[in-house]
Symmetry: C2
Subunit: 685 residues, 2 copies
């Protein structure tokens, strides 16, 4: 870890996105997702599973406030277990002082407020801000005097708070609340929610840590690690970093905290405790061994990437080289063996988890939207520590493909699972594929993905650029205006970009005075012959896929970028059994797929003319197509329809009938925006 290489994202206020592609996505989130989500949190969406999120805050707030008005402190009842998900007997009339939904339902609000915060920076909106402030009032009203703020236990019984951190998501809800609070404070300057988060953080700090009498535990679902670092960075309060570091380094130590708390719970319940001896039983939680020893990305993919992101944060701030090396190893393991060509991760729906190395099934893939988002978080943090295009390439891949695939192009429906091959009949009739939905859903009972997309898309600015004392890094090229202070003065730039459809971009210095500084530009891994033009007085070097230009940048000076976007036909490693004999296509950062809408049914009968294409890639034609309201580039790939058309189940093998055809491929993120149908990323060769 080289301190000099480190950099930090710019505050969102310093980056205005005006990119044609991404601005559209941000506007979708602002106009569609955020308001839809608010209705969902308030159980006002016809036909969708109720969230009960705001109901729970109202219920808890009522209980707390009632007592406070009497000058008393609310004392939660004795806990009686009500399960992981509680539903009202009469769904239309939930009782006003009961908790409903999943144990982690509070986090729905936190993700919403985070997206709102980022959106307000990009697009001020007094009505939305008023709504947000009112929601914050409701949330803060539920907080206990001691700072605790998780409605499940506030309503159901504080005697059991922090007795089941493995599965009861209190620290997850705490983490999300903190992220949301920091974001809202940074966006609006309003600190009511931040103060609540600080009080909650202080309470958590009192409960967890190495000191005797504290719980020697860590979250079951990670995120608090990242969140505490953000809280540390906004408050400067060292103890939040300490606590994050404690969560990270305590994880996976023996005896396992999850066993210890289970034993305690058994005692409280007067039940016998039996320890499971399987050493991998906590791999789902990445708690099977201390994180510094971990070499393979395992378990629940969202949890994993949230943890690794927190590890990277802590490594950076505490200069922990060993922890950083663990991050590098885990990154390399994911991207070397466990990454879909769509930027998705999580090969199996069993535990929404990473499968074993090179096991990347297309039709039963999990590839959760949130996991791709987690990978983006992890990538950005690795970039912060050491700029290397390998991180930015994957970050870009995940953003342009799986993250966007998670949301319909009208912002009104969502995928949780992002398969690489779909036959709708199989999703409906084959229980092995029931997790794969052939069409996007309006909302989910466990609604992690839609708000996660919202907060990621609205905060895009923080992924495009990072800076340190002497360098501004450009990790992705997206139309934007940047204004930031650097050593050499106030640096203003205007970036224009035609990504992802053309590899051209143009940066214009907008500072009023000349600025002496270094600008570092990522040379995308998908481009072999980048052509960057700049005034020749600059000192330049290329390192880890970044071009560094140092010198005095004059007002209105222009740097142009030409990253020719050749269509790339790709093969998977021999060890990926599911992709053997197949090819996939990319252009720039965009992964393509074949859809029934263009190619008819039975995509498995198509073959691409791989040999011909390998000899002359120009046989692939690029075309334009409107999907939803967006003009996208499609590929016309020469290929064949290969048919036998026999009636019998098994027939003597004869060379099949081959008919030449042009196969149309569309950007993966646009799939399933033209009705239900087959889809495939990998094509037979």
């Amino acid at each position: 870890m080289d301190q000099n290489k480190q950099s930090r994202p710019l505050p969102l206020q310093e980056v205005k996105i005006n990119d044609e592609f991404w601005h559209r996505e941000q506007e979708l989130v602002r106009k569609e997702v955020i308001s839809y989500q608010w209705n969902a949190l308030n159980d006002k969406v016809e036909g969708a599973s109720p969230s009960y999120c705001m109901h729970n805050f109202r219920a808890a707030g009522k209980l707390v406030m009632q007592e406070r008005q009497k000058g008393k402190e609310y004392v939660p009842p004795k806990y009686t277990f009500r399960g992981f998900e509680a539903l009202p007997e009469d769904p239309k009339h939930p009782e006003p002082d009961k908790f409903y939904g999943f144990v982690f339902q509070d986090s729905d609000f936190s993700k919403w407020i985070e997206a709102v915060a980022y959106s307000l920076v990009q697009h001020p909106d007094t009505e939305l801000e008023r709504e947000a402030d009112e929601a914050i009032d409701l949330v803060c009203a539920a907080q206990l005097e001691n700072g605790y703020l998780d409605t499940y236990y506030i309503i159901n019984g504080m005697d059991r708070a922090f007795t089941h951190v493995k599965d009861h998501h209190e620290l997850y809800c705490f983490g999300h609340l903190t992220e949301g609070a920091v974001a809202y404070y940074e966006a609006t300057g309003k600190d009511k929610l931040l103060k609540a988060a600080i009080r909650f953080a202080d309470y958590v700090y009192e409960q967890f840590g190495p000191e005797e009498g504290k719980l020697h535990g860590y979250p079951g679902h990670e995120i608090a690690e990242m969140a505490l670092v953000r809280l540390y960075e906004v408050t400067g309060e060292e103890k939040y970093l300490q606590l994050s570091r404690y969560f990270v380094t305590e994880r996976g130590k023996q005896p396992y905290f999850f066993d210890i708390e289970a034993k305690k719970r058994a005692k409280l319940d007067g039940e016998a405790y039996r320890q499971d001896k399987n050493p991998m039983r906590y791999a789902y939680y990445q708690a099977h061994e201390p994180v510094k020893m971990q070499k393979e990305a395992v378990g629940h993919a969202v949890r994993a990437t949230y943890l690794y992101s927190g590890m990277a944060d802590v490594a950076r701030l505490t200069k922990d080289e060993e922890l950083y090396q663990a991050c590098v190893r885990l990154w390399d393991n994911i991207t070397g063996e466990k990454l879909y060509i769509t930027g998705g991760i999580g090969g199996t729906h069993m535990g929404e988890s990473f499968s074993f190395g090179y096991d990347l099934p297309n039709d039963t893939a999990y590839s959760e939207t949130c996991a791709a988002i987690g990978l983006v978080f992890f990538a950005r943090r690795m970039l912060e520590i050491s700029p290397d295009r390998k991180y930015a390439d994957v970050m870009e891949l995940a953003l342009y493909n799986t993250v966007l695939s998670g949301m319909a192009m009208d912002g009104k429906s969502f995928f949780y699972v992002n398969p690489l091959e779909v036959v709708p009949e199989a999703c409906k009739k084959d229980e092995r594929k029931f997790h794969v939905k052939p069409v996007r859903q309006k909302w989910f009972g466990c609604a992690c993905c839609p708000p996660n997309i919202a907060r990621t898309v609205t905060s895009l600015g923080s992924y495009l650029y990072t800076k340190n004392q002497d360098t501004l890094f450009v990790h992705m090229y997206a139309g934007s205006e940047v204004e930031t202070e650097c050593e050499g003065g106030c640096l203003k730039i205007s970036m224009e970009s035609q990504m992802p459809w053309e590899g051209r971009a143009k940066l214009t210095i907008k500072s009023e005075k000349p600025v002496e500084t270094t600008l570092a530009f990522r040379l995308p891994g998908w481009c072999k012959d980048p052509d960057i033009r700049y005034s020749e007085e600059k000192k330049s070097k290329t390192e880890n896929g970044y071009l560094y230009l140092t010198g005095v940048f004059q007002p209105e000076e222009v740097i142009t970028f030409d990253f020719p976007m050749k269509v790339r036909m790709l093969a998977a490693n021999d060890r990926v059994r599911e992709d053997i004999g197949k090819a996939a296509f990319m252009r720039g950062p965009v992964t393509y797929c074949a859809e029934e809408a263009d190619n008819g049914k039975n995509l498995h009968l198509l073959k691409v003319a791989a040999e011909q294409i390998a000899k002359n890639p120009d046989v692939i034609k690029i075309d334009d197509l409107m999907i939803a309201d967006q003009q996208v580039k499609t590929l016309k790939v020469p290929g064949f329809t290969v048919k036998r058309q026999e009636e019998e189940l098994y027939v003597e093998y004869r060379m099949p009938k081959i008919q030449e055809t042009m196969i149309t491929l569309v950007p993966y993120y646009t799939w399933n925006n033209r009705g239900e149908g087959e889809m495939s990323v990998w094509m037979r060769t």
Copy 2:
């Protein structure tokens, strides 16, 4: 249904198997499986899950006999639900008067006694017969005065007998007991167990039927349908046929009996009853609609084939054309859309069930051994109604491949699941494949497959031949001596056969006098140019794949059969996505597969030279190999190793390195007899 075409299997006493191939299998069953199984039933196998089967009979017998000795009748206690599987607190010391194991554990004895019976016919063994008689004494001692004989309810509470026929397997246990009893009576002439089965059958007849006051129900797990027909045929008692017919035709009628009994149970338990409205919820049990309306084979594949077998029996005996047509439809559906090339059925482990049409995954296949056996039962019964080689071809396919694959070549371990593609790492690390075992297991808690193999292999004689008034049908060619009465006198024949390794067989008439009759010989579907030589004075015709020879057969007259066994390279129907671009190989009735033992790891990198082979099949060489102690024929197929050997996960597509190689294929049933390793039936082309 043409009455004149019908035929029946020969009594086992009339067929002595001396076939080199099958005699070995029968001896394995006799020497290894039957004695091992007896130890298993008595919980004497180190390291295996206890069966508790004989324990339960002893426990029930003790309870019944204790009272009887006091001149009283045993009154079972009031039922308190003990679950689908009951295990002793201390596994080493089960309490002597409690029921343990699955609810259907009694059937383990019945399958064992059935295999013993067939084996005794083939190979008399006084010691084994004594053991069997003692076991029968134990079983009969447990029977209640009223004839009821299912230890689960005898021990746990008769007040709940026949209150949960959907899942509690009483009628399944009754069916197996009856099958075993008939077999033992036919083998030994001893009728103690038969009488017990008759008393039980009479009790069941009192409980079930169309009359008011009786239960209008049918088995949750079918088999009683077939068994009652056997009981009818051995006793001539019409009511058993009536009951079988009732079970068959009542099935699937609305309102569903399974709902009615669930409602009653809810009332008994004082619980609320909520009906599931999904019309397919009883498809698992083939009880979603009346059987005569069924067109698609669905649900649990073993149950399905047992039901269809019973339907065929009832159709034949009651001359029910509509029922027969349902059988034909279901047969055609299975063999047209849902049959593996190994003769296995059941595409999904979810419910051990048929998947949807053409969904035949290789690596997650269920293809249960018992389901292939059920298919053999169904095939034989369809042959009995109307001889057509389409039935015999599939019967032979299932027997030589999946049924035998179920048992190791030393008779000491078993497969429940018979996949068509295995990568051991995936079976261990990928939860989607946990049902696929990379090595055979010694025994199973739910031990249906090993005893089912035993009873099938030992009764092989009943699948080789059937006869009617004027014709003896030869469905499969296996070395055997037959002596049976026909219209023309006593017909004795000696069949010699080199199957399955060579397509040659020879039949010699061994009758002392000339016999005028018809002999009908199946012309196997896998042979295009059969050459059958016989004396020319016969009248001959070919119908539905059988050659009928009518005339006077002289002593020592010889008929020779030459069915040239060309290696066949086969393709699956275009609609089978999992086999697209692949080929499989068969020779005669034997399906082949590639194993790691011969071809090294990474079978997915191999391709067969399909074009070359299609032009000239003779490029495939046939070789000999010893596997376990058996000489088998292997195939040497020209092909290629196709490698990229890149380190990265995704690389630019270049034409891969191709290296010529010879791929060794071994008979599918011999797979995994040389240690754990990869296996694949379908090979890339």
